[in-house]
């Protein structure tokens, strides 16, 4: 204890440490029957940290390149001690992170936590979700296996459908006309440098906003507390809420470790650009709802190409989704019920299309 006290005094003399952490001591978290949903964002952050750490570990052995990527991942999984576990944790954590990010977003939507003054927190969060999907898409190619190769071919082809800027974007993403080693080099750069840099800055902003504005109270709870101020409850952030959050992280770690060890991630076969696509090929589950939608749109709708219509449609929906808070009223008694309706529809649509896409031949 003496050492910690000395360290604190030493830091206080130099950077006024106590002032720095004072807001955390003052901070409180509203306590009500829906408080548990507040953990989801933290768990997503925890899984992101796991991604950064295991990602750095994989970089110790991974070698990008058409003739070395698959071999190096194979080497990690067969020669390096616990390499299979590190890679499996990275893959599982990625999938869980995308899931918790979606769950976090929908919980924020249904608790109406995006209302004024938290519009920018929502906007930064939606952009982060898109980035996370970008992480998934770029990371998926890195082992250079058959599934990844064709997923990237199809995914970048869809990007190419965007009017006017589609074609240049496709060339930019692929590093040429086709998916080749050049694409792998680019995706590697996006995955380990560009996206982590942007994501880290956005996460910092996202957390800063949460810290500045405090945690939102759902409108019905807010109204109940206004009517009866003695019912209002809150927990201290430090240490009460933080310790509970850490317990949630601990549980997440347990689930992650168990999944990674019991269901290790496969490597598949090495990509061969001159072999036909395997039957029943599908994108990762988080792209499945879009993939299935594009499959259902007829090739020509009136004069417009079906694919183009789908891509432009998803783009517009994403834009409206990003701007959702600006349609909401800040008065807790006048919140827009149709926004909740849109949320329910979106959740049902994503879930339904994902299941449909999973079952469809």
């Amino acid at each position: 204890m003496g050492f910690l006290h000395n360290l604190r005094d030493w830091l206080n003399d130099r950077i006024e440490w106590d002032d720095l952490i004072a807001p955390l001591r003052e901070k409180t978290v509203p306590k009500h029957r829906l408080s548990y949903w507040y953990f989801l964002g933290g768990i997503t952050l925890f899984l992101f940290i796991i991604q950064v750490l295991t990602g750095i570990l994989l970089l110790l052995y991974y070698r990008p390149g058409e003739n070395s990527a698959f071999e190096s991942v194979q080497y990690i999984m067969t020669q390096v001690k616990f390499g299979w576990l590190i890679r499996s944790v990275h893959s599982w954590s990625a999938n869980l992170m995308i899931f918790t990010a979606f769950a976090h977003m929908f919980s924020v939507l249904f608790l109406k936590a995006y209302r004024k003054p938290r519009e920018l927190t929502w906007v930064s969060g939606v952009i982060l979700l898109l980035l996370v999907m970008g992480f998934g898409f770029s990371g998926y190619l890195l082992p250079w296996n058959t599934l990844a190769f064709f997923a990237t071919k199809v995914g970048t082809e869809i990007t190419g459908q965007v009017p006017v800027i589609g074609r240049p974007m496709l060339i930019f993403l692929r590093g040429g006309e086709e998916v080749t080693g050049a694409t792998l080099t680019r995706f590697f750069g996006f995955h380990v440098a560009v996206l982590p840099g942007i994501a880290t800055m956005l996460i910092a902003l996202h957390l800063l906003l949460v810290q500045r504005q405090g945690i939102s109270v759902p409108p019905n709870v807010e109204l109940a507390w206004k009517a009866n101020p003695s019912a209002q409850r809150e927990t201290k952030f430090f240490p009460n809420f933080l310790l509970r959050e850490l317990m949630a992280w601990y549980v997440a770690l347990g689930v992650l470790g168990a999944l990674a060890a019991i269901f290790p991630w496969n490597l598949g076969t090495k990509a061969d650009p001159f072999s036909p696509a395997p039957a029943g090929i599908k994108p990762e589950w988080y792209f499945l709802f879009m993939f299935q939608t594009l499959k259902l749109i007829p090739p020509k709708v009136w004069l417009i190409d079906g694919e183009v219509l789908g891509v432009v449609g998803f783009g517009l929906v994403a834009l409206l989704w990003l701007l959702l808070p600006f349609f909401e009223s800040s008065d807790p008694s006048r919140t827009k019920r149709w926004i909740t309706g849109v949320g329910v529809f979106a959740l049902a649509y994503i879930a339904g299309m994902s299941v449909y896409g999973h079952l469809a031949k």
Binding site: Y61, V80, K81, G83
Partner: protein, 154 residues
């Protein structure tokens, strides 16, 4: 049991026990994570594909009083043809700080450019900083190939 002073008689207070269990749980978790991590960080032993013997050159490739670097597994080796036509082979890794040495046809000696180390044609360190001789290899001529092999430790 209702006497509050009984509590002080219990060997480990309840709170301490809970702390102990929780603490050892965390320590066990940390160990379960750090052990695989530590093992992962140690690179697996590279399989030396070089074997014990390698073709260093073809007969006639080297003129008298010249040398060449060849691959011996993961490391460079130095093959020398002396002025009177004899072949000599040795490790090309300087024993000082691991630079790659070369044959100097003007000095008839092996020279390391990094810190001016000198070895004779048997690999003995004769001047400069090298602390030990270069490991010498055996040379065999089979057909028109010059084979170099490690000396068997007797």
């Amino acid at each position: 049991m209702n006497n509050p002073s009984d509590r002080s008689l219990t060997p480990i207070p309840r709170r301490r026990l809970v702390e102990l269990l929780l603490g050892s749980g965390f320590v066990a978790t940390a160990a379960a994570f750090l052990y695989p991590l530590w093992q992962y960080l140690i690179p697996p032993k590279a399989t030396d594909l070089g074997g014990d013997s390698v073709v260093a050159a073809r007969v006639g490739e080297l003129k008298p009083n010249s040398g060449k670097i060849f691959r011996f597994g993961d490391r460079p080796g130095l093959l020398i043809r002396t002025a009177n036509g004899e072949y000599r082979a040795m490790s090309a890794t300087c024993t000082h700080l691991s630079c790659t040495v070369q044959y100097r046809d003007d000095l008839h000696e092996v020279w390391c450019a990094c810190h001016n180390g000198m070895y004779d044609l048997n690999g003995r360190n004769i001047s400069g900083p090298p602390p030990r001789p270069l490991v010498a290899f055996e040379v065999q001529i089979r057909g028109d190939e010059v084979f170099v092999r490690r000396r068997r430790e007797a």
